[in-house]
């Protein structure tokens, strides 16, 4: 059980992860939370429309920590599931654990959303996803938390031999929000892609943390995370790829690129490649910059006002990540979410 889940269950605030924990130093919960909200209540609230409506074979609702705990795909089965994790009215503090079992050769497209429909919640969602041999998982996650919510989502994904795991996170942050992915990588021809986009304004915070451990020969990990922070927002990226001794022929690439649009916004990035094997191809890049002033003037000189020019350039910047989503419907939905967000319609 995580320290946050322990704090939620026991009410003991000293259990909360704090800046003294190396992995949590930029997403301090201990210093933020003075009083835990009461335990989450059952909600009778209708869930309303979700971001992936109409794209899935099955909707899986978790409302205030309550709902079915388990999803399983039989060998060879293919399914698209919309998992909606709602903090509805009545949400306070809760920790939910979910399990997904994808058997050999099965294929799951998981369209996952964290939807904050009330404020002042402290929530953890822990998902274990086991991916069988030659199985595939496409996970698209939208972080649509409330500005006053505190939300941690953690997915642990052990990959089978020859399996394929593609993930794209798009998040708009919260009071504190962390989206964490832990991948046990066997090598053995398995492929992982761990992408992300964070678009943050006001005082929102988002933390994208990933840990991939390559344990065997011949695996690949490809990661592209891009973020844009404005106002007093804070983006955190912690990407760590460990290539264990003997995990030869590993191909690992990591890129994190951020734009800072205001003096008071902040990006903290810690890209790490830890390599204990000899014969590997690994690369990482990390850049932080501002929007291109030349491009802004060029657009302005053609009549495109400053707000629209910024939206257009930002959309193009993060579009590179969105374009890597395999599922066409989800890709279109995320493009739309980005466009609407940048033009203030959400």
């Amino acid at each position: 059980m995580s320290s946050l889940a322990r704090a939620i269950e026991t009410g003991d605030l000293t259990q909360l992860p704090s800046r003294r924990d190396e992995d949590w130093r930029w997403t301090d919960l201990r210093g933020l939370i003075r009083v835990l909200p009461p335990a989450s209540q059952v909600s009778a609230w209708p869930p309303g429309p979700g971001p992936f409506d109409g794209l899935a074979d099955q909707e899986w609702l978790i409302v205030n920590g309550r709902g079915e705990r388990w999803l399983s795909l039989a060998a060879g089965e293919q399914r698209t599931v919309a998992l909606r994790v709602l903090a509805a009215p009545g949400a306070g503090a809760h920790a939910a654990r979910l399990e997904i079992d994808i058997e050999d050769g099965a294929s799951l497209t998981l369209l996952e959303s964290y939807e904050g429909q009330s404020a002042d919640y402290v929530v953890e969602t822990d998902i274990s996803i086991s991916l069988g041999n030659k199985a595939s998982l496409d996970r698209v996650v939208v972080g649509a938390d409330h500005a006053m919510g505190v939300s941690v989502s953690r997915a642990r994904v052990p990959l089978g031999r020859g399996s394929r795991f593609g993930q794209t996170v798009l998040t708009f942050g919260a009071r504190r929000q962390r989206l964490e992915t832990i991948v046990d990588h066997p090598g053995a021809g398995a492929m992982a892609r761990l992408d992300g986009v964070y678009l943050l304004g006001d005082q929102r915070h988002a933390d994208i943390t990933t840990l991939v451990t390559h344990q065997g020969v011949g695996g690949s990990t490809d990661q592209l995370v891009k973020g844009v922070v404005a106002d007093q927002a804070r983006g955190v990226f912690q990407g760590r790829i460990v290539v264990s001794r003997g995990a030869d022929k590993t191909d690992a690439r990591m890129g994190h690129h951020a734009l800072i649009l205001s003096d008071r916004a902040e990006v903290d990035a810690k890209p790490e490649l830890e390599i204990y094997a000899d014969d590997v191809a690994c690369a990482h890049g990390n850049t932080v910059g501002a929007l291109d002033e030349e491009a802004l003037f060029y657009a302005a000189s053609r009549g495109i006002g400053p707000d629209e020019a910024r939206a257009m350039l930002t959309e193009a910047f993060v579009g590179e990540v969105i374009d890597r989503i395999a599922h066409q419907g989800a890709r279109g939905r995320l493009r739309l979410l980005v466009a609407e967000h940048l033009r203030g319609r959400r």
């Binding site: 291109d292 491009a295 003037f297 657009a299 000189s301 009549g303 629209e308 257009m312 350039l313 193009a316």
Partner: protein
């Protein structure tokens, strides 16, 4: 149409234009020629409103309206178009998307309805064909990886689509081979119109062999030091700018 009076512009605290006066009536094309460092690009950027080009004195009006009070996108809405000497590359934004956003922004600002997708495509197809630009190029991110000549043609396509009241061509001939120069010149000539003014900024008279100006002005030391008819361009080409370099700023 365009009326510049005693314009003074500084860049990074250094005065570049020292009282430039120039008027271009509707329907006319005027060339501004001058040696390197005379302030030609400063003039074009100041008219378009580029940040960092500080107007320290004088006035600029377009059809009687004060241009200097407007930000760059508002100037474009009022019909100012600057064809860049070095058009900017914008990764991830297809040329079609960029041009359509710009056209619609201008139309909205003028209280006109946005152009429909089919009408827009028809319009751009027609302008691209006239400039011998492969339509597929417009699907690529604007100016990214384009050759110098392709970038200049993309500028003239935009000028044709936006149909500005004032077209400023900043060194449009630079980087063009003779075939591309003719194509671009044809594109510019097609846009000459009784309700449009053109300001052609150039170092060489090459472009002016194809786009014949109504007036030629010599810019040296930050002001207009001589004006004449189209023949002045040839005289400058023969004799160079030396005799104007001596004129005190």
């Amino acid at each position: 149409m365009l009326c510049i009076k005693d314009l003074r512009v500084a860049v990074g605290g250094e005065a570049i234009l020292h009282g430039l006066t120039l008027s271009i009536p509707a329907g006319e094309a005027h060339a501004v020629m001058g040696p390197n460092g005379a302030g030609k690009s400063t003039l074009s950027y100041a008219l378009a409103g580029r940040p960092g080009y500080d107007v320290t004195g004088g006035s600029v009006t377009l059809a009687g309206e004060d241009l200097l009070a407007l930000d760059p996108s508002q100037r474009a809405e009022r019909g100012v178009f600057l064809s860049f000497q070095y058009p900017t590359e914008i990764p991830g934004v297809p040329a079609l998307t960029f041009i359509r956003s710009a056209l619609n922004a201008q139309r909205r600002a003028r209280g006109e309805a946005e152009i429909s997708a089919p009408d827009f495509l028809r319009l751009v197809r027609e302008k691209a064909a006239a400039l011998k630009v492969d339509f597929d190029m417009l699907k690529r991110p604007i100016n990214v990886g384009f050759s110098g000549g392709e970038k200049k043609r993309m500028e003239i396509i935009q000028m044709a689509v936006f149909s500005p009241r004032l077209a400023i061509l900043d060194e449009t001939d630079s980087g063009l081979d003779i075939d591309a120069l003719k194509i671009v010149a044809d594109g510019v000539n097609a846009l000459r119109s009784p309700d449009r003014a053109m300001l052609i900024i150039t170092h060489y008279q090459r472009l002016l062999d194809y786009v014949r100006p109504d007036r030629v002005h010599v810019l040296a030391g930050g002001r207009i030091v001589a004006s004449g008819g189209a023949d002045l361009a040839h005289e400058l080409e023969r004799e160079g700018y030396d005799k104007y370099a001596a004129v005190p700023a």
